[in-house]
């Protein structure tokens, strides 16, 4: 009995500390984004805004003398780039992952190792040739520059995650289709992909979040027309200095898309994270 009480107290204390550490930043972020700068200067960070300034969001999205970097076009850039990368890497990664999950040759083993190393490849090790290549071909001026660059590391990720899932699909399904005369490609698209849709959804969320949040490559390859949300966010932090309300509004806009996925597709989100780490 006494032991149980200690346990309950321990649980309660842990919850208290965690709640404080995780609720405070997000609470202050949201309330601050709606305050005027005068209100912030008064220092009551925990109070709700007396007159919510939705104007802050307009300034951040469309620019103002206080906030010169407009978020709106960058938001579009991030959407275009992250959705294209997600679609293409799922398509290519699905094909490659299927090949690796159904082949047991020496070549397949070699490929698997190469793909595995790619999962942990730091961008620093490939950035210089990429920048030179994108500048020479002028691809850096279009969204294709960043899309191609992101595909290099996200295709291997999709290969491994989807391939792990394909390993768990019973072969009887495919064998039945092949007895009926379907080619491998038909079997893949008509039998394997439809039963793997939940896995595709999870991997899509992982890739999308990762590309949306990526900074190093986006910073190094950014041209004025293709800047992503993260890059403009970093730039804004340096130029707005004390306008914490605008900074926080910009931060909330920058997390909007992954946060929507997290809040409304939480199950796939968590499954995606686990797939990335453990099993399919």
């Amino acid at each position: 009995m006494r032991k149980n009480l200690t346990l309950q107290i321990l649980v309660f204390l842990t919850l208290l500390v965690l709640s404080l550490a995780y609720l405070l930043p997000v609470y202050v972020m949201i309330t601050t984004s709606l305050k005027s700068i005068e209100e912030i200067n008064r220092g009551n960070y925990l109070s709700l805004s007396l007159s919510p300034q939705f104007e802050n969001y307009r300034e951040v999205l469309f620019g103002s003398p206080r906030f010169r970097s407009q978020m709106m076009p960058r938001l579009l850039n991030s959407v275009i780039i992250s959705f294209s990368v997600t679609f293409l890497s799922l398509f290519i990664g699905g094909l490659g992952g299927y090949y690796l999950s159904r082949t047991r040759t020496f070549f397949a083993r070699l490929l698997f190792i190469l793909v595995g190393i790619a999962l942990y490849m730091p961008y620093q090790a490939i950035i210089i040739p990429l920048v030179i290549f994108m500048a020479r071909t002028k691809l850096a001026l279009t969204h294709w520059g960043l899309i191609l660059a992101y595909l290099i590391l996200n295709v291997p990720l999709a290969v491994v995650l989807l391939g792990t899932f394909f390993l768990s699909i019973p072969r009887e399904l495919e064998e039945a289709a092949q007895v009926d005369g379907a080619s491998k490609i038909q079997t893949f698209f008509q039998v394997v992909v439809p039963v793997s849709l939940p896995a595709y959804a999870s991997v899509a969320i992982i890739v999308l979040t990762q590309v949306w949040n990526e900074f190093f490559l986006a910073l190094s390859l950014a041209s004025p027309k293709t800047q992503t949300v993260q890059v403009v966010m970093a730039e804004a932090k340096g130029t707005t200095l004390v306008f914490y309300n605008l900074q926080m509004a910009a931060a909330l806009i920058a997390v909007s898309l992954p946060m929507l996925f997290f809040l409304f597709l939480g199950r796939y989100f968590i499954r995606g994270i686990l797939a990335g780490a453990l099993k399919g």
């Binding site: 309950q8 930043p25 793909v115």
Partner: protein, 301 residues
């Protein structure tokens, strides 16, 4: 004759199938390893301004790098990141996950999950922006709140050269803790392990004893995955340092990845930058060898 033609068609079709599955992936692998080897090559050349210079000079730029005090500051800081970014996160995650297992209060589970996991959806740039403001010494959230509580708090946070890196690492732990907890949780929740824990409880084993002699040994593979992922993320850390301190005060919080970016894109010493890229790659490669072997075995057996 007919028969042989049919067979040839079949082989052709099988080859075509293989190509469709393989070719796109192969293309990106070739680009990836092409750029990697190109980077390695550049690190041995004498490229030190905007114009490429592919004259081989051997280890010249590696020698340049190790002669810079900055490089050794980076190495020290990266070591701090590797140890303090990984160990406390893992231990805290095990503690929280086990506590949730022991005390299944209704609703607490999903509350803690949402609470700890929302940072996983945020970028380091956003997290860094928020925490820069939390940490600001004069008007920042933490010091202001502590003052309102009546404490005369002058915590310097990331402006203190001695401890700045530790405050940065704290942001990293904050961001990754939820992720670590769900990995530990899902490895605890296998049916075999649950049965073992039940059997031990019936035998009267204490809760701590169960944790150390039954739970921990049986979630080794989950921990290997978690530790590898944390190791690699803390080795590659760039965004947090860039956005919160940009390596300052002075170069006190500089890390290899930030040094690589500054050397390459601000100082335009491309060969030296490539050298740093190669060093980061080699470290990453060594750190994930155990994990790669494990994943390879699991896939092919």
């Amino acid at each position: 004759m007919e028969f042989r033609k049919g067979k040839q068609d079949k082989i052709k079709r099988a080859l075509l199938d293989q190509l469709v599955f393989l070719f796109p992936m192969l293309l990106f692998l070739i680009i990836l390893y092409g750029t990697l080897f190109w980077t390695i090559y550049v690190s041995f050349t004498d490229w030190k301004n905007i114009n490429p210079n592919y004259q081989i000079v051997g280890l010249k730029w590696y020698k340049f790098l190790v002669s810079q005090p900055r490089f050794w500051v980076d190495v020290q800081n990266n070591l701090k990141w590797l140890i303090l970014g990984v160990l406390p996160t893992t231990i805290l995650a095990i503690f929280i996950a086990y506590l949730l297992e022991l005390s299944p209060l209704p609703g607490v589970e999903s509350y803690v999950r949402t609470l700890l996991l929302y940072p996983v959806a945020m970028s380091f740039i956003v997290t860094g922006t928020i925490w820069s403001w939390m940490y600001e010494p004069d008007r920042g959230v933490i010091n202001t709140l502590l003052r309102q509580l009546g404490l005369n708090s002058r915590l310097p946070f990331t402006t203190d050269p001695q401890t700045a890196t530790y405050w940065l690492i704290l942001i990293f732990i904050w961001q990754y803790l939820g992720f670590a907890v769900i990995i530990v949780q899902s490895s605890i929740r296998t049916s075999e392990l649950q049965e073992m824990v039940e059997a031990a409880t019936v035998d009267g084993a204490g809760k701590l004893r169960i944790l150390f002699s039954i739970v921990l040994p049986n979630i080794r593979s989950g921990l290997l995955v978690l530790v590898s992922l944390l190791l690699i993320s803390s080795l590659k850390v760039f965004d947090i340092v860039y956005i919160v301190t940009f390596g300052g005060p002075g170069i006190q919080t500089d890390v290899l990845a930030l040094n690589m970016w500054i050397t390459t894109f601000q100082q335009r010493l491309f060969s030296a930058g490539a050298g740093l890229g190669v060093i980061i790659f080699l470290l990453a490669f060594i750190l994930v060898i155990p994990y790669t072997l494990y994943a390879f075995r699991r896939w092919f057996e």
